[in-house]
Every structure is written in C-alpha cells, then in structure tokens.
Amino acid sequence: MNIVVCIKYVPDAQAELTFNESDNTTDRGVEGLLSELDEYAIEAGLKLAEAAEGGVAENTVTVLTVGPAKAADAIKKSLQMGAHAGVHVSDEAIHGSDAVATSLILAAAVKKIGSPDLILTGMASTDGTMGVVPAMLAERLGLPQVTLASELTLEGGTVTIRRDGDVASETISASLPALVSVTDQINEPRYPSFKGIMAAKKKPVETWSLADLGLDSGSVGLAAAWTTVESFTKRPPRAKGQIVTDDGDGGTELAKFLTAQKFV
C-alpha cells in the first residue's frame, strides 16, 4: 500500500502574523514549522502502514508539500516521525497561490508520485484555516472524499470513518483509492525518536519544480489567483478592561457588569 500525506509548512501561530505590504500576501518571514494539524495525518498514515500486511517494510508513507525552500523543515520532521520519503514542490512562481492553485499543484504531484491507495491530509492549515484543499484535491483527482475523520479504519480495501458534525455524527465509507482528512481527535502524534532522527537523514527527498509537473507557471501564483485581497487592517488592540479580585463578592460584581451592559 502506498500512502501520500499532504503537509504544509506554516508560520508559527505564536508569532504575530502579518501581511506583505507590497502584494497583500501572508508574510512568511516569521519562524515556521510543520502545521500541527498535519501531524495527525502523518500519525494516521504511519499507523495504517504499520498495521497493514507487510508493515512499514512493504507499505510506504510519502509526505508531499508545496512551499518555499524552508518548507523542507516540515518534510524533515515528517521523516523523523517515520515517513519513508518526501516530495517538495518548490518554485518561485508559486508565491501567492490560493487554495485553488495549491490543489492544482498537489494533484499534479500526486499523479507524478504514482497512484497512491490513500491520500491523507489534516483538517485545515493552521495559517489559512480555510479547510477546503482536501475537498478540492478530491475533486481534481476524482477520488472519494472521506473527510474530517475522528476515527479511521481500513479493512479489505474499504476505508471507514466517523465524522462528527454539529447536528449528527456520521459513519462514512469508501473504497480505495480515496482521500481522507483527519481531525485532531483521531490520534496522539508521536514525537521523533533519536533513532528516527538519525534514520531521517538517509531518507530520499525529491524537489520538483512546476516544469517537472508539467504545469505552466502562469496557472499558479498571485497573478493567477481567482480572488484578491484588496485591503487589510490591523485590528486595534482591545482597551484595557476592569479587573476585580474576588473578595467574596466577585460574582455579584460580575452580575452588576452584565446588568450595566444590558446582557441581563
């Protein structure tokens, strides 16, 4: 079985994110890392490979990312966790790509990797947080979309998930090949072991350009985006509020505030 896990290198959520003044794109100058939500997808892939017949010797997990040179760090972390190989699509022309273009590049890269049995993704990136790329990728590849899994089982070529929605919890199943996205409820991602860190250094990583994928540079990037950010405004800091220490009447004070603000 061949599993591809799509991952993203994102700006650290602890850093203060901002825009590039020149073109209204996300400033990626801050420290970055593997998107935390993608670790769940990597863990899910590794678990499936380990459990399948032949184990990790015969079932491979390849991580795939689209991003700048520094995105190699995200691949490195994935390999340290246990993934077998990495593919990094990197090209100057990709800067400013929207979700539509990202899914186009990912789809082309998945096809070049081969025909995986399973494509795994996180539920959303922690920077853009749109959560649409998995659906777009399934659409482009013509694969069953089995998304937002909080539980995942694979048996006899059929993948089954539990998807927890606001009004119902659903069971969804599909035949492989399929695209599955997972939530942060599905597992506890492992930390790289010392052995894993050493082994990662010898694992293969391929770097592909758009030309390697047969994609025209004009079909991606900021100029090709189907949406445009016209302007951005920093949210003003919140005014310092009133803070009281509870000396036995904190609840009463709280209720007074609610009444004064007409919430009661």
């Binding site: 959520a13 942060d184 189907w226 445009t228 951005f232 920093k234 949210r235 009133q242």
Partner: protein
Amino acid sequence: MAEVLVLVDHVDGAVRKTTLELLTIARRLGEPSAVLVGPGFDAAKEVLAQYGAEKIYRVESADVTDFLVAPKAEVLAQLVAAASPAAVLIPSSTEGKEIAGRLSIKTDSGLITDAVDVQAGEGGAVRTTQSVFAGGYTVQATVTKGTPIVTVKPNSAAPEAVSGAAVEQVVEVSISEGAKGARITDRQPRAATGRPELTEAAIVVSGGRGTGGDFSTVEEFADSLGAAVGASRAAVDAGWYPHTTQIGQTGKQVSPQLYVAAGISGAIQHRAGMQTSKTIIAINKDEEAPIFELVDFGVVGDLFKVLPQATEAVKKAKG
C-alpha cells in the same frame, strides 16, 4: 436582476438562522434563490418565503443525501450553469466550505471562505470582509474569476423579513458515479442540549482547565443567560466536553455579543477562536493569565465561587 443562490442549512425542513442571514445578504446582490437539498420542503417553504426567497430549487434525490459533499457540489454546479447567478452563498460550516471548495473547481470560480460581511461593489463585484490571522486583521477581498462563491459565517447580517414569491422549482438531478464514492452508512443525531448553537449564539460561556472536569457550574451560569456552552482545547482533550464545542484555532471560531471564559488561561490557540467577540469576560484564579489582556471585565478568583454567585444574581435580576 440576476439570481443569487443560497444553499439552505436545515434539518428536515427546520431552517437554521444562518440561512435567513444569507437570504438577507443575497438581496444586496440580486434575487435570492434558495437551494433546498433533502426532505422538508413544506416546512421550509414558509420561512424561506418570509425572508425573501423568490425561488426555491427543490432537490430530494437520495443520490444527493446519501453521499458526502460531492453530490451537493454537483447539484450547485448544475444550477450555476443553468441560472448564471451573480453569486453563490453557502453557510460557513465545515461541510459548507467543502461543498464550496468543490464547486469552485467545477465552475472555475473564485472562492472566499468565512466572510463576516458581504456587500455589492461596483460593476456587480461582490466585496467580502473576513477576519484573519487569529482575528488580528480584517481584510476586504473580491472574487476575480467566474461566479463568486462565498461561505458566510453565522451572525454576519441581521435577518430581514421581506416576502418572496418562493416559486418551487423541482430539480431533476443526475449525479455522476464519481460523486457517489463516499457513502454515509449511518447517522446518529446529536442529543439536543436545549441551548443555542455555538456559532449562532449571542452569548457564549466557555469552560477550560480550571473547571477540573466539572462543567455543571459553567452550564448553570450559561443557562441563566440563555447562552451556548463552549470549551477550551485543554478541556476537550481531557475528555471533559465534546469536541464539537471546542473554541479556538482548531475548533470553532465564535464572535458573539458576549463571551465568558471560565478557567481558561487564554493561549493563542484559544484566542484565535474568540477574540473578535464584542464583549469579553474572564474568571480565572491566576491574575497573570493572558486572557485578562483581552477582557472588558475580569474577576481574579475561583470560578466555583464566582459563577454560582453571579448565576443567582442574574436569576434574581431577571425575576
């Protein structure tokens, strides 16, 4: 005037408030046409008419409702091709965003998600406002290609009652085999809490690590205010409260009139889900907790002492 398609969010014809907001927004851009997928037409028709739907596309095929996301995107793509709408408005739920994503690819159209405002711009443009980077920035954006597809967050408009013709149009769908790959084999409705839905609620009261797993005090306070109950990631990860109630970067983003954080320190992951709330209150034992940087009113103290007292006072004030 061009149609504006609104995908109706409903359960068996019980239309959710977000749909009324979307119909109101749709009127700024053109003539609202509701797209009702699944059973419940008779129940839904009346309320859709009351909020200005000129047309209701009725889609009831089991081919659409038995499979995840893909068939709904196919139905909308068929309607986009047939009606050439000025825009497609979809609720910003997880499913809504997935439908929108597929529709965007199918129709070669730009997609904007999580809009908190949508207005008509010059020359038929659709201008949206979103809150990004954990609520740190507000951006204005437009779609520059195809039919604007916009997913809209709850509470983005005040629903305005305006009567619409609500002309029924039954849609005969032909769903491709490819869109029937992910079958829904079981559906367990969530037990009703009797409280408002988190993302729609005017008031949200959330509990975190400080509850120690006992949410009863938080729930009683929430009920005194008619509020929804949320939870921090720490509380959800500990198994104290359902994942569907998680507020934060990896959960729901809420923007109510009033947000009360009880026993929540206010890490960036949590702030990302609530810091655009109008008024913020926190109760925390630790006066150094970062949540206090955001509050309009804060109480440094034990939530198990402060909240019950506040609950009593609120009940008394309400009579």
